[in-house]
């Protein structure tokens, strides 16, 4: 069965670890929807969140293979119903005065923040679930979006492991 899987890995911060992990995923021809990596509260330990579409059995095998990598400490396929997920986006808009009210309403409604304004441009940030970020992008479609970037997902299981 093909499903979307959200895999988190805790790894030692060592050279090559990103490349080893991405090599494993690409070898089976997986399309990685997103890959996010950053430090954790523990020095020397980073955490990956990888979103892939794939056959459940193959994903399970890759999960086991990732666990074999020397610098990988833990690997988890998150149960989506029992986890929290967030994405983050920064969007640059071209604007004029008559748009500003409506843009401000969207920012307020979706809990965004204005990061910069001036020279006919605005930069706004949003964070939230993938569905919410998708909605924000749809709402802003009617304005002129100049640039945008969204992170991949980061996620965590609820309750203890």
């Amino acid at each position: 069965m093909e499903h979307r899987h959200i895999i988190t890995l805790e790894v030692e911060d060592k050279p090559g670890v990103l490349s080893r992990i991405s090599t494993l995923f690409s070898r089976r021809g997986f399309n990685v929807d997103s890959l996010t990596v950053g430090h954790t509260h523990r020095p020397g330990i980073s955490r990956f969140t990888i979103v892939v579409q794939g056959n459940d059995q193959v994903v399970e095998q890759i999960r086991k293979q990732s666990q074999k990598l020397i610098h990988v400490l833990t690997v988890q396929d998150l149960e989506q119903k029992r986890s929290v997920m967030r994405e983050f986006a920064i969007i640059k808009l071209d604007y004029n005065l008559e748009d500003s009210k409506e843009i401000n309403e969207i920012v307020d409604l979706y809990g965004g923040r204005m990061l910069d304004s001036g020279e006919g441009q605005l930069i706004v940030e949003f964070s939230g679930t993938e569905a919410k970020i998708n909605k924000v992008f749809r709402k802003l479609e009617k304005f002129k979006v100049l640039e945008s970037i969204r992170t991949g997902k980061i996620g965590m299981q609820i309750g203890s492991l």
């Binding site: 790894v11 090559g16 490349s19 090599t23 059995q57 399970e60 095998q61 020397i70 610098h71 400490l73």
Partner: protein
């Protein structure tokens, strides 16, 4: 104590009990090679091509179970080893490869003879290291040996810039190796072992399917104890050969594409397959859904990612093969397998391997099966047999009777032509080894033929057998069977005179073209001191049978002539 990088390496090699290293010099390892001149207790075996250094280390490791060590220079020296490293990786062979690298400050600038060896070798190593701080070198060396030899073994590469080979450091070796993300396989869970035994006890047609993992674990005795106690027939993969003596009544021989009819029949009829240290390779299973279709399946492997990879199993046990076999052997007792063994016996009698004794061959016909059977008869299993890749490899697997663990050294998973001669070189450096016999085809032999120079310079007592059919037989066989005998690139009418080539390296050689000459030539070779080559001019149309074509199943087996 202040030591330079080269001295640290030599110390680590000695601490690990390494007696010899296989290598080839070059600009980025001059300081390290120089250091070997200060140590008489560790030898540096200079081969003629870096690929051969890796295969030699591999051959040594396959025979002894101890890691082979390779030292080569940067750039082309390092990339030349990649095929050898991949060969070892695929078959889980412990190996340490030290590659020179350009000076630290110029790494990444496309300096002379620079390659990103870490990047190139990543997919074919169990782990690899680029050492940029000499203080890490002692720990890295210890970790490399530890990782290469524990769990599922494999090659570990260390890339060491040439400047660090002469710089000094007072860094010491660590007391305890700590690698937080690296777990060793657990001891066999006794409840699972018990369950496995219960399943075995209830089965009426059990088969043990034994892979290279059993040879790697030196678990032949434990296998024998279990198989004999419960009277379970045993089939092995190519890499599992010798784990049980093939003249044992419970041995069914090899299974798979060119396995025996009996072994494949038994798998097809079995109601319980116990796979130990095997990985359901496509050359074993054919069409996976029809592989052992009636059987419940127990899979024992120390690598959890192998379990359920190809075939969903009823019981997966993550454990070392030796540990599992020893534990289940304690529970085992005779089960009622008499009818099953009787059935197998009659199948075996009715479906023997194609046999070519001298009388059966026509005048002027020389069959490779016959040559190998004669070697087997003369050596009585007391040999280290190294085979290359292709038809002759399958003929060796079928017609040589392996009676000892780790006595067939061959590139199984990767199927690397050119493996045999350098691997035979490596095997000669194992203490107290038996007669080394190296079987090659005329194709593969030419892929590392330069190693005749190494054989000569160290006077290695290898009997080199070239089975010359003047074509690339295995591919030609597929062309004959599935491609309408259209011989695209597989005929080699101009194959060289291998006897003359051997003579060029001062190695005595002879050519055998008639069946009557086979036995005297073998007898001569086996009493000869030092290296010797015999070229057998075999039937160019020999086919390896039986054969279950790729992706097919037992009912599609071609039994052959």
């Amino acid at each position: 104590m202040e030591r330079n990088g080269s001295q640290i390496i030599l110390q680590a090699l000695k601490d690990q009990g390494v007696g010899q290293v296989f290598g080839y010099p070059g600009g980025c390892v001059i300081p390290l090679f120089d250091e070997f001149l200060n140590h008489s207790d560790i030898s540096l075996i200079r081969v003629a091509h870096e690929q051969a250094a890796a295969h030699a280390a591999d051959g040594f490791a396959r025979l002894t179970g101890r890691p082979g060590v390779v030292i080569v220079t940067s750039g082309p020296g390092a990339t030349n080893t990649i095929t050898g490293i991949a060969t070892a990786m695929t078959d889980s062979i412990p190996m340490i490869i030290i590659t020179g690298q350009v000076r630290t400050p110029v790494i990444g600038t496309n300096a002379f003879q620079e390659t990103n060896v870490i990047g190139v070798s990543r997919p074919v190593t169990k782990h690899n290291y680029l050492v940029k701080d000499l203080n890490n070198l002692p720990r890295v060396l210890q970790e490399a040996f530890y990782i290469a030899t524990t769990g599922r073994p494999g090659p570990v590469l260390i890339d060491l810039p040439v400047d660090l080979q002469s710089l000094t450091s007072s860094a010491e070796f660590v007391e305890k190796i700590e690698i937080p993300g690296y777990d060793l396989p657990p001891k066999a869970d006794l409840r699972q072992v018990k369950k496995a035994w219960e399943m075995t006890r209830m089965a009426s047609r059990p088969v043990l399917y034994i892979g290279g993992g059993v040879n790697l674990a030196h678990a032949g005795e434990d296998l024998l104890r279990f198989a004999e106690a419960a009277e379970i027939p045993v089939t092995t993969t190519l890499l599992g050969q010798g784990a049980i003596s093939e003249d044992h009544p419970l041995s069914l021989g090899m299974l798979g594409m060119h396995g025996t009819y009996t072994a494949n029949w038994a798998m097809h009829r079995s109601d319980l397959v116990i796979a130990v240290g095997a990985r359901f390779d496509d050359r074993v299973t054919g069409k996976v859904e029809r592989f052992a279709p009636l059987a419940q399946m127990i899979h024992v492997d120390l690598d959890p990612s192998e379990i359920n990879k190809i075939k969903k199993v009823h019981l997966g046990v993550v454990a070392d093969a030796k540990d599992f076999l020893a534990e289940i052997g304690k529970l085992a007792h005779k089960v009622d397998s008499e009818p099953w063994l009787e059935e197998i016996k009659s199948i075996r009698q009715n479906h023997p391997l194609p046999n070519y004794d001298q009388a059966k061959m026509k005048v002027g016909e020389l069959r490779p099966e016959f040559v190998i059977q004669e070697f087997s008869r003369h050596l009585k299993g007391k040999a280290v047999v190294v085979s290359d890749v292709g038809q002759h490899q399958m003929f060796v697997a079928q017609h040589f009777t392996f009676t000892q663990q780790r006595s067939h050294l061959t590139s199984g998973g990767l199927g690397t032509m050119g493996f045999a001669l350098p691997a035979a070189v490596g095997a000669c450096f194992a203490e107290g080894h038996e007669q080394v016999v190296c079987f090659c085809g005329d194709g593969g032999f030419q892929m590392n033929i330069q190693e005749l120079a190494t054989v000569r310079s160290y006077n290695l007592p290898i009997v080199i057998v070239v089975l010359n059919n003047k074509n690339l037989g295995m591919v030609k066989q597929w062309q004959d069977l599935f491609w309408d005998s259209r011989y695209a690139s597989t005929l080699s009418p101009d194959a060289p005179d291998f006897v003359k080539i051997a003579e060029g390296y001062s190695i005595p050689g002879s050519r055998v073209g008639k069946k009557e000459e086979v036995v005297p030539a073998i007898e001569r070779a086996l009493t000869h001191q030092g290296p010797i080559l015999i070229e057998f001019m075999i039937d160019p149309h020999s086919m390896v049978y039986p054969m279950i074509p790729a992706g097919k199943e037992f009912k599609d087996i071609i039994e052959g002539a």
